[in-house]
Symmetry: C2
Subunit: 215 residues, 2 copies
């Protein structure tokens, strides 16, 4: 299944980096942890980072019901959401051809608030299992009061684009032939460090497998 | 020096996480590599990742002169730029108190195109030295043609906010007292892997110190 090609979601720059498979969109969204949500407030753009989770072709976003940006985003106005993964710094023979290796998904659409309690609980489960797989069944589930204090938005993935850059620098032929400079990629890697227990934790509380085994 | 407190840049949610020192803004911007730029196009927000660099209280952004978002952003319209660093996954005793440790800077303002060749070369040096410190003096400098093909925007850091979350989960007292669940932080760490030479590189070309020694 290929991604939509509305004017807004058609990649115009760097077409060779555009990816049109829907599976690629899902992979980038599933690999990220933070998205950047943009919304228009009083005519000006406001961008902020937030958590998210994906269920099929629905992206869930959440935050406090008091957060203005999230309120605006859920009022039926257009939003734009980006998830970007940085994979490497591309050192070219020329400054001009320096670049980054990355995977990026951008979604456009209208965010809809999730209000039905059952649908909201489902969305929170999706959000929780994206942020911290295993936590929904391990930690205390949200109370009705906590559910009410959480704003959840749903965004359809119908209109989206994916750009991916991989591989070595794309230097000019002349630079490759004449330059004696080193060129290549410095990979950027993200990994989890050793779990740091909460200081209020009772001594001897074991780190559960869904935390210690997370990769 | 403290950050401005216009209505837009005053942190309303999670005030305890707001940081008002200008040095904190600089630190977050200097620690990141990718920013997310939001601009309004045809009434709808568009967010995309891009490289940046900071010189004093000026943020430089760049891209191809053919990129529509960058053209729009440089036409004297308001933009919003966010740089977010994810530091850890916060596992709480309750699902509701799960969170992330992060550092985030958000800048609001009007991006101005940098057109003067000397000023543009300076901005490109700042951008290059942010992406790949050492490359400006090591790689081939931009030709006049390459300079002309690069769009550079300058954004004043006058209106900005910083939010930082650190430390263990903030569980409800009752959960701390009664839960037997593990709680704590799983640190997220970003590091550079071993340099991968370009396949077209002449054998025996040494990896320069500014690449091999980058931390």
């Amino acid at each position: 299944m290929t991604l939509s090609t509305t004017p807004r979601s058609t990649v115009k720059r760097g077409k060779k980096r555009a990816v049109t498979e829907r599976s690629a969109l899902h992979e980038v969204l599933d690999a990220g942890l933070v998205c950047h949500l943009a919304v228009v407030v009083d005519g000006a753009p406001v961008v902020l980072p937030t958590g998210y989770g994906r269920d099929g072709d629905t992206l869930y976003l959440h935050g406090s019901t008091g957060a203005r940006t999230l309120r605006e985003a859920g009022a039926g106005v257009p939003v734009s959401v980006a998830v970007t993964l940085l994979d490497g710094i591309v050192y070219a023979r020329s400054v001009f051809d320096h670049s980054m290796n990355y995977r990026c998904a951008v979604v456009h659409g209208t965010a809809v608030p999730v209000l039905d309690p059952e649908a909201k609980a489902h969305a929170l489960r999706v959000l929780t299992e994206h942020l911290s797989p295993g936590s929904w069944d391990y930690a205390r589930r949200p109370s009705p009061k906590e559910l009410a204090a959480t704003a959840v938005l749903a965004l359809d993935l119908a209109e989206a684009s994916v750009k991916i850059r991989t591989g070595p620098p794309s230097d000019e032929e002349e630079d490759v032939a004449t330059s004696r400079a080193w060129a290549g990629v410095l990979p950027v890697r993200t990994a989890y460090g050793p779990p740091e227990p909460c200081p209020l934790l009772a001594g001897g509380t074991a780190v559960p497998e869904h935390v210690s085994g997370r990769r």
